[in-house]
Symmetry: C2
Subunit: 420 residues, 2 copies
């Protein structure tokens, strides 16, 4: 019997009524002939409430105890979901992350999965039961409870799917798939039926929030097909899988944006070897997650170094930048919190030169000024003014004709040749 | 270094402020030179809220999943208490029941502790840490989470104290010890400084709610000294321990009452051998917890069988009684929910005859009618009308002079002799 892993987020299990609805969906899948493992998150705002409780007793709670606290959120969900399935006359059994053998490193609050010992899940499935697993949590080899950090339940689902050899891992959310752009920004955005792991990774890293980056990496590394779909409809969503002959490779898959970063510029740094190394070693030591980096042309022996960081890391980044300015005898540093990234992602880019040029032209035609540029083989990212990011997304979606399945580029055929 | 186990109930950790107060008390004990293990219950009403959530998804939730759900309550408390101690600059580490090696049987929602593997607690204490343990919960040998039922956190505390060889197990509650009677009913009631396990067992079984019956049994079986005291003062409370030469054995330790039982009477049962066995086998099969039993004198070949049951078991008791009436061709059954038990407990009773006679006389003088009577070597219990139970408690407390440490009885010396 095929095994299907289904993952339901906090919104899907936010109230007793919604838990009962999820139970019905699971039972329907079971009655259709599959073995079901459901991975669930904490109910709605429970995690936020637990974080507030912790803050009320300790301004800087130890991470081990934070994990002990937060892991209760998912444990409540799994018990309630198992009960709701029982109320429908089916047999369900719930397991916490530690019980199900999700072994992680010791990185409390952001642990990485080392191994999934899925014997208990397989035994319960063999006994005809529906298995409910707590997302977001695991155990160290010596028995401490860990949590996997943001989006961890997606990663749990993919890891369990890999562990039990599931046919597919279905990630249920409040949107019905991955779109060519955020439909709130681009009403003509189109749902993508199939997408490769690589493109999904670039989209997730560029701000498309549907799937968590680490879960897509895990899926790619273990060859788990991920079906991203809505918990409110039965319509198919977006299938993330290995590229094969059956999959049509679009030149451009989608446009993503991310307004949650800030730009830091250290000005008039003496232009000598090792300067960049010093800046980014200090940032890494301060646990600042640096994304894009650009170093301007040197002028009169000094240079400017700019980089983007998540706004959540900005306090640490400022403190570190001040120290670096003093250490390197730079002039000063500036912070621009109003920036946003807009990214164009597509596997077909590799064989279609001119995509970047068309992107720059489209932004220019829309009056959007480009601040920084970074590229990978299947992605081009521009940093633009935050106020202009929606304009930028719409201009790109329109320029590349993403509202139809047939992507149009200026560069095909012909005129892109000269830009190769 | 002496090890002290401290147990804090749900009221003591009901809010972040109270958790911080408990943390201060623990740190003070640690700084006074002891190794501390703290066992905590779920915060305030958390358990009730979880029960309500379960009821909202499943009218009859499986007990295994109920335990999975309820165990989260204590897990939240231990994490928050460890954080609060950390905020005071001390090192604390929390453990769930499963983590700390509290191995139970498979009796979900009312599991019994089979073994405490206290290695992790001892290792953490040796490392100088304050250890926080979740009360009320454990694990089966094959890894399912269990809960210990009502009062389970007291039992956890005593079991951990036995496991680590603690000098004393301090049970903190909102009262400052065990009293000769409920001070709300008898304002002149006196706090008992020391009491034997046997007397405490009889008091707990008779309705004195301070300590849970099972925890006292566990303490007696493992020789753990239990100090029952208030979390709001530093005054010593009541020490429950083995009788030794240093302990003055009072004739009467206290008066307890319990208004939470109901009386069932099966009327005109044919008086033949095996009838009582049938009645109480059926009740046991229906999981009805029968307390006192009385069979009246036979009249014309039939008899009445009366017994008391907790009001929580009354629905099952009624159903079973109806079936028994049909099976045994009895007349009918009646239920009296207005009864109450009043009990006199004292180790000195064994050597002082006439206590029962004085009890009956005191009740009679106070105009209290006695319905049923049951005795043990150190206890006499009378079932009386629920409306009269406070009058009965006050009359007995007064008659035996329990407000002073010198108990007075009519029967000493002399007049009790004839009643031996």
């Amino acid at each position: 019997m095929a095994i299907i892993v289904q993952k339901y987020g906090g919104t899907s299990v936010g109230t007793p009524d919604r838990i009962r609805a999820v139970a019905s969906r699971i039972v329907a899948a079971k009655e259709a002939g599959a073995s079901i493992v459901a991975v669930v998150s904490a109910m709605g705002d429970v995690t936020d409430e637990l974080v507030a409780l912790a803050a009320a007793v300790d301004p800087e709670p130890p991470e081990r105890e934070m994990d002990m606290l937060l892991a209760t959120g998912e444990q409540v969900s799994i018990a309630l979901l198992a009960m709701a399935i029982h109320a429908l006359g089916h047999e369900a059994i719930s397991f916490t992350g530690p019980q199900v053998g999700i072994v992680t490193d010791h990185g409390h609050t952001k642990a990485k999965i080392l191994e999934v010992r899925a014997d208990r899940v397989r035994d319960a499935l063999d006994a005809g039961r529906i298995v409910i697993v707590a997302g977001f949590q695991g155990t160290t080899a010596d028995g401490a409870i860990t949590t996997l950090g943001r989006g961890g339940s997606d990663t749990t689902a993919v890891a369990v799917a890999a562990g039990v050899g599931a046919a597919v891992c279905e990630i249920y959310t409040d949107v019905d798939g991955v779109y060519t752009a955020d439909p709130r920004v681009v009403p003509s955005a189109r749902k993508i039926d199939e997408i490769s792991y690589e493109e999904m990774l670039e989209l997730a890293a560029s701000g498309a929030g549907v799937l968590n980056l680490r879960s897509v990496e895990f899926a790619r590394n273990h060859g788990v097909a991920v079906h991203c779909r809505s918990s409110f409809t039965d319509a198919p969503g977006t299938l993330v899988k290995e590229v094969d002959g059956s999959m049509e490779q679009a030149i451009i898959s989608g446009v993503a944006y991310d307004a949650s970063e800030a730009k830091v510029t250290i000005r008039d740094v003496p232009d000598r070897p090792g300067v960049a190394a010093t800046v980014f070693t200090r940032m890494a030591d301060a646990n600042v997650n640096v994304d894009m980096i650009i170093q301007n042309v040197s002028e009169a022996g000094t240079t400017d170094i700019s980089f983007t960081v998540p706004e959540t890391d900005l306090t640490r980044a400022r403190r570190t930048a001040a120290a670096v300015v003093a250490e390197l005898c730079a002039r000063d540093f500036t912070v621009d919190e109003s920036i946003a990234k807009v990214s164009l992602v597509g596997a077909g880019m590799k064989t279609h030169p001119g995509v970047a040029a068309q992107m720059f032209r489209a932004l220019s035609d829309a009056g959007v000024n480009i601040d920084l540029i970074s590229t990978s083989t299947i992605r081009v990212t521009c940093v633009v003014d935050g106020d202009q990011v929606h304009t930028a997304v719409r201009a790109l979606h329109d320029s590349f004709g993403l509202e139809s399945a047939e992507v149009t580029t200026d560069s095909v055929p012909g005129c892109g040749e000269g830009e190769r």
